[in-house]
């Protein structure tokens, strides 16, 4: 037991520190912001971890095992999307002067007052119970601390006092600046401080339980294993009544509420200092979650082992441990950790929803009845609206706690709030990704979602606490209609009540949202706003959807703005406009609509979007476009889109055509290049024989006294070189004709046996001179191929001549062996010689144009055009045949020519 006065002193001291931190943060913001860092941004987002998680996760882990992780897994799954999602939202909020999540939705669907009111009221209903459980956590832990272990007295005053102090705090540090776009540095500093504080407190108690009371993780788990407790901890399915479905639902739920809870939205989008912080925060945040959940399971199991079956609520295990051990200092630290978690949440949540209350309900009301107030009082009235909203919210939460909340477990209240908040998901996410989504769809979706939420989740709690209805409705349905039982709508029985309510409300919500948006026509301003939200990067100014308006004189607009902002702020805004756009108005000038929009934006910053819209709309005497006009514009837009689509298709076609042309051009260039190369090589090949012919004949002419043997050698060389020249010219022309497809072919049935005989006769004299013997295997004369006899003969002669040319003079017996092999539909002629052979690396390129293979033994450049085999290959290909080569240096060379049989049609 700790004396009451001591705890009060500690609490006051702690709150004193909070005020100090806030004051310091605010003061520093004038010179150098202390919250301008990704770390602070990430830590501020951990306001997600409230007292509910601080105490509740141990409680949940003790009863339901690792399923407590679901509420952390949701936000974790969201982290990878932060960069896309958060940045887009931050950008929209900054440009559209959004002040809260309800303002976000109302502004997206046409700056609509009704929608603003609807969403705000819904959120108040969802969130006030949620704030109340935080108050309850504070007073609950306070009671435990004071009255341990009897817990007899109940000090609800604690909660009341906390509510009052928090109100003062938020008024001091949240409403100091009238602009919604100004960051509340003091408040964020406090949140960050509390984020660190609660983490430290939880880690300290975690280490205390695990390593002081027990002997480390291993000890706890082995003790638990002895008592068969592990199974229930590790098994998700067993631990929840709806099994995996409930677990899955919880993850989805926490995934969505992480962005949609008013405080989270506020911290994510409105208190962000720099878009770039999102990237780093997206991995710092998960680390924090990991740290704060590390000791949950050990404490939960430890508590069950240590306290056994006592009546202690598992939620407060972390307080019971140090109290039981008489460690009051540690107990106080834990208490303050929970206090930090609760107050952090209370501060931001209250601030966020009181801003909604004032911006979406109270101030618009005031603007509507502006004439009631004397002009000089308007600014004060606005400030009053802002301030009074805060105690209204907190006291409502306190009253809820006293009247209703006491009867229900924290977890149930919290989850009911969550399911409520999730109703915003369709209109929120649809609003930034789906252009067609409109106000009617949003109102329809939200209303049906809200009604089902009320009927399946809130209504039963009211029945059970005896406030409304008869208990039989729960078991038998209203008027005995089973199908309408609140916990088993349309006979859906197997889910737990939260999953059940979530399923039906969100399904109906999405359905109505989509249907409503698809089948109704939006107002002009909705279309304008949709464009601004979805194309968040581009600044669109589409005036076609604007309401009809009367022209306004500058002084009228000026007077209006001064009423809300005072002359100093108004003048500085006008100066800013002048600096930016170089346009200045005199009192009796009619103002441009661009200037009106600018002033509306400025007003939004101070009194919220909806109020600014109301005020400006009144001034301009606006009249919305009628249905017909709107349809016409939409039709035009549609046509424009179709037109631009057609243009896109055309330009695609053009691009494709261009690509084809480019390719063709590339090919032409390549061919051109080959042509150049060809000419260059040919001219090179021509130059050499011409040179030697010239030099030798000059010598014969100028030196008549040459020996006759020399004369003979010279003349013989001249003859050879001349022949080389004419062969070269022949081959070149042939090659050229083949290349261009201009060669004339005379196909007929040619007997292979005859062909070979003819060829041998042609080369026989040369073979004899080189002392080479040519053998053939006698072939059946009736075997014919469909071929051009002359060209095919040329191929064979070329190969035989090569064989003769490259014979090995050092060998005793030189031979050329011609054989053939008939297969089912082809014949292969093999020409083998035992000449010098062809090196492996040359085998592949031997059929290329202008390749002349050198052989070391002869040392002399082979005489030939370098075109022979390349021509041979082309001729064989024309016959649908294949020519191949195989060789071993110094051993043999084998050329294979394979020609198809009975392929007349194919060849012609």
């Amino acid at each position: 037991m700790i004396p009451l006065w001591a705890i009060i002193v500690i609490c006051v001291a702690y709150l004193g520190i909070l005020f100090g931190v806030a004051y310091y943060g605010d003061k520093k913001s004038i010179t150098k912001s202390i919250i301008n860092s990704p770390l602070v941004y990430a830590l501020s987002l951990t306001t997600y971890c409230t007292a509910w998680t601080f105490y509740g996760s141990v409680g949940k882990a003790a009863t339901e095992g690792i399923s407590f992780l679901a509420t952390y897994l949701g936000p974790l799954l969201l982290c990878p999307l932060w960069i896309i999602l958060f940045k887009k939202i931050i950008r929209i909020c900054r440009r559209e002067k959004i002040s809260s999540i309800s303002d976000f939705i109302a502004t997206r669907y046409g700056k609509d007052k009704f929608l603003g009111n609807l969403v705000t009221i819904m959120i108040l209903l969802f969130i006030i119970p949620y704030i109340s459980i935080q108050l309850r956590a504070i007073s609950g832990s306070f009671n435990i601390l004071i009255d341990y272990p009897t817990q007899a007295s109940i000090y609800n005053e604690t909660a009341f006092i906390v509510a009052i102090i928090m109100s003062v705090f938020i008024i001091l540090f949240g409403t100091r600046n009238p602009r919604s776009q100004e960051r509340n540095e003091g408040m964020v500093s406090v949140i960050t401080f509390e984020a660190i504080f609660k983490l430290i407190a939880f880690l300290v108690i975690g280490i205390y339980v695990t390593y002081y009371i027990f002997d480390g993780f291993g000890d706890i788990f082995s003790q638990a294993a002895e008592k068969d407790m592990l199974a229930s901890i590790n098994n998700i399915q067993k631990s929840l009544d709806g099994g995996y479905w409930d677990w899955f639902m919880l993850i989805i739920l926490s995934f969505l509420v992480f962005m949609l809870l008013p405080r989270q939205f506020h911290l994510i989008a409105l208190e962000n200092k720099n878009e770039k912080h999102v990237e780093k925060a997206s991995w710092i945040f998960p680390l924090y979650l990991f740290a704060i959940t590390l000791f949950v399971i050990p404490i939960a199991i430890g508590g069950k082992l240590y306290f056994g079956d006592t009546t202690f609520n598992a939620d407060s295990f972390i307080l019971h441990f140090p109290l039981e051990k008489g460690n009051n200092l540690l107990a106080t630290l834990v208490f303050l950790g929970g206090f930090a978690a609760a107050t952090g949440m209370i501060i931001v949540e209250t601030f966020a929803i009181s801003t909604m209350l004032s911006n979406n309900i109270l101030i618009p009301l005031l603007v509507n009845y502006l004439k009631v107030f004397p002009t000089s009082k308007v600014q004060k009235a606005i400030l009053f609206c802002r301030r009074i909203s805060i105690p209204i919210v907190l006291l409502s939460a306190y009253i809820y706690m006293i009247v209703i909340g006491e009867n229900y477990p924290m977890v149930e209240v919290g989850l009911i709030s969550f399911v409520g908040i999730v109703q915003l998901a369709p209109s929120f996410f649809g609003g930034i990704f789906w252009k067609r989504a409109n106000r009617t769809g949003t109102i329809a979706g939200l209303s049906i979602g809200f009604m089902i939420w009320f009927y399946t989740l809130l209504f039963p709690t009211l029945i059970r606490s005896g406030i409304m209805g008869d208990i039989s409705i729960l078991s038998e349905g209203p008027f005995g209609l089973n199908i309408l039982k609140p916990y088993a709508l349309l006979g859906l029985e197997n889910l737990n009540k939260i999953t059940h309510g979530f399923f039906w409300s969100i399904t109906a919500n999405i359905f109505m949202y989509i249907m409503g948006s698809l089948f109704t026509i939006p107002k002009g301003i909705e279309i304008q706003q949709a464009n601004k939200f979805i194309d968040a990067k581009i600044d669109i100014n589409d005036n076609r959807f604007r309401n009809r308006y009367k022209e306004v004189f500058f002084y009228q607009l000026y007077e209006l703005v001064i009423t809300f902002l005072g002359s100093e702020t108004a003048n500085s805004a006008i100066d800013h406009y002048y600096n930016k756009y170089q346009k200045k108005y005199l009192n009796n000038d009619i103002v441009d609509i661009h200037f009106v929009d600018y002033m509306e934006n400025v007003l939004s910053d101070y009194i919220g979007n909806i109020s600014a819209r109301i005020a400006i709309s009144k001034l301009l005497n606006e009249e919305p476009l009628d249905r017909k006009e709107l349809l016409e514009i939409l039709e035009e837009t549609k046509e424009a889109i179709t037109h631009s689509k057609k243009l896109t298709i055309k330009s695609d076609e053009l691009e494709r055509a261009q690509k084809t042309l480019l390719k063709a051009n590339e090919k032409l260039k390549e061919i051109d290049h080959l042509k150049d190369e060809f000419i260059l090589t040919i001219s090179h090949e021509l130059r050499t024989p011409i040179t030697s012919i010239r030099l030798l004949s000059e010598m014969l002419y100028f030196e008549p006294e040459l020996y006759s043997e020399k004369k003979e050698v010279f003349l013989k060389t001249i003859m050879q070189e001349s022949e080389r020249l004419s062969n070269l010219i022949d081959d070149t022309l042939l090659q050229e004709k083949l290349e261009l497809g201009k060669l004339t072919w005379e196909f007929d049935h040619v007997s292979i046996a005859e062909l070979i005989t003819n060829t041998i006769e042609t080369v026989a004299p040369m073979a004899k001179e080189a002392n080479i013997k040519i053998n053939t295997v006698v072939l059946d004369k009736t075997i014919v191929v469909y071929a051009d006899k002359v060209h095919l003969e040329r191929v064979l002669i070329n190969i035989l001549m090569n064989a003769i040319k490259f014979h090995d003079p050092e060998k005793d017996k030189n031979y050329i062996h011609i054989s053939s092999k008939i297969e089912q539909d082809s014949i292969t002629i093999c020409i083998e010689d035992n000449g010098v052979g062809i090196a492996k690396e040359n085998l592949k390129k031997i059929f290329n144009i202008f390749v002349q293979i050198q052989n070391e033994k002869q040392k002399i450049k082979p005489k030939g055009s370098g075109l022979g085999l390349s021509i041979a290959k082309k001729i064989i290909q024309r016959h649908k045949g294949i020519i191949e080569v195989d060789s071993e240096v110094d051993q043999y060379s084998r050329f294979f020519i394979t020609l198809p049989l009975n392929a007349d049609d194919e060849i012609t």
Binding site: L680, T681, S683, H684, R687, T688, P689, I690, T691, S692, R694, L695, L696, E698, M699, F702, E703, K710, V713, F714, T717, Q720, E721, Q854, K859, I860, K861
Partner: protein, 125 residues
């Protein structure tokens, strides 16, 4: 006293060119050696220490450019002059030829007179 004849090495893989050049130069009383490819040419050059090399560019194994680089690196051959015999294609950029260390070049086809005047001129420098 008669001066000892100038020594000329012909390196070309075209036998007909070698035959022609050899006879032209012998008729002018030069001492002539011949080689049919770069490898052989280098061996001969080191033994023979020619005053001038008539060098074909497009040859197998070692082409004329490489050949002349080898010669230029060899101290004992620093006074050897080189004339490239080009079939034009490989000498589109004359500077390149000079950078490879030739003293002059001649493009095929050429006359007897032209080759003699070039050789005489280079050797009398």
């Amino acid at each position: 006293m008669m001066k000892s004849p100038k020594k000329i090495l012909i390196v070309d893989d075209e036998p007909s060119i070698v035959l022609a050049l050899e006879n032209i130069l012998l008729a002018k009383d030069y001492e002539v050696q011949k080689a049919y490819d770069g490898k052989e040419g280098l061996k001969v050059a080191q033994l023979f220490h020619p005053d001038l090399i008539l060098l074909d560019i497009m040859m197998p194994f070692i082409d004329g450019f490489e050949f002349s680089s080898f010669i230029r690196k060899n101290k004992s051959l620093e006074n050897t002059k080189i004339i490239f015999i080009s079939a034009k294609g490989e000498l589109t950029d004359k500077k390149y030829g000079y950078s490879k260390g030739c003293d002059d070049y001649i493009i095929k086809p050429f006359s007897t007179e032209k080759i003699i005047s070039k050789v005489t001129f280079i050797l009398n420098q």
